[in-house]
Amino acid sequence: MGVRVQSEPFDAGAEANAFTAAATGAGAVVTFSGVVRDEGGRLQAMSIEHYPGMTERALATHRETAVERFGLTDALVIHRYGDLAPGDVIMMVATAAPHRKDAFGAAEFLMDYLKSRAPFWKKERGPDGESWVASKDDDEAALDRW
């Protein structure tokens, strides 16, 4: 079902249901949703910047790689940009495969790549002002397993 990059909120449940309904031939569907943490009440807002054009290309490439590598029957990636609040759904991935191991594996693969290979940048606003979220060495290391 492709990739979508959008500022508008989306209904992760409705997306999951539509994805599952279309996943004929699959025996397993895995969905993951990323949610804005409130960081113990410290985070007031988050804004996400992205690189229009490259973002869509990168997501489509990673999706296609996941489909081939894990033998998926379908995959969906949705990622938001713009202003978000704690509790908002930032993004989701859905994967469909004949068996669950590949569906889970592909979802993890896609998440690891989205973390550090898709051109998004998060800025957080809290009591001390605004700051860009730093990348984590762990996120880079997570790619080594693939």
């Binding site: 910047e49 993004m91 973390k115 550090s116 940048w121 860009w132 730093a134």
Partner: protein
């Protein structure tokens, strides 16, 4: 002419999201050196290249990547998606 794009804190430090430049730089690294001597804000933005990633025509590359035929170069911090 080449379009140069800046994202996140690089955009803030340079002070603009994109600009079109005339350059004879052979590589990304050469372009960075050209920018750094232009104005202090570029020197500030590009002082630590280990904290900067680069894409040429929307593909991630290293700083040694050639610019011949490139239309667009983008500089940005490590990505924080997901």
């Amino acid at each position: 002419m080449i379009d140069v794009l800046y994202f996140a804190w690089l955009r803030e430090r340079v002070g603009l999201p994109r600009e079109r430049l005339e350059t004879s730089a052979a590589t990304v690294a050469d372009l960075v050196e050209e920018l750094k001597v232009r104005e202090e804000r570029y020197a500030f933005a590009f002082q630590d290249l280990s904290a900067i990633r680069v894409a040429v025509d929307q593909e991630l590359v290293g700083f040694d990547a050639p610019l011949a035929g490139a239309r667009e170069v983008a500089f940005f911090p490590p990505m924080t998606g997901g």
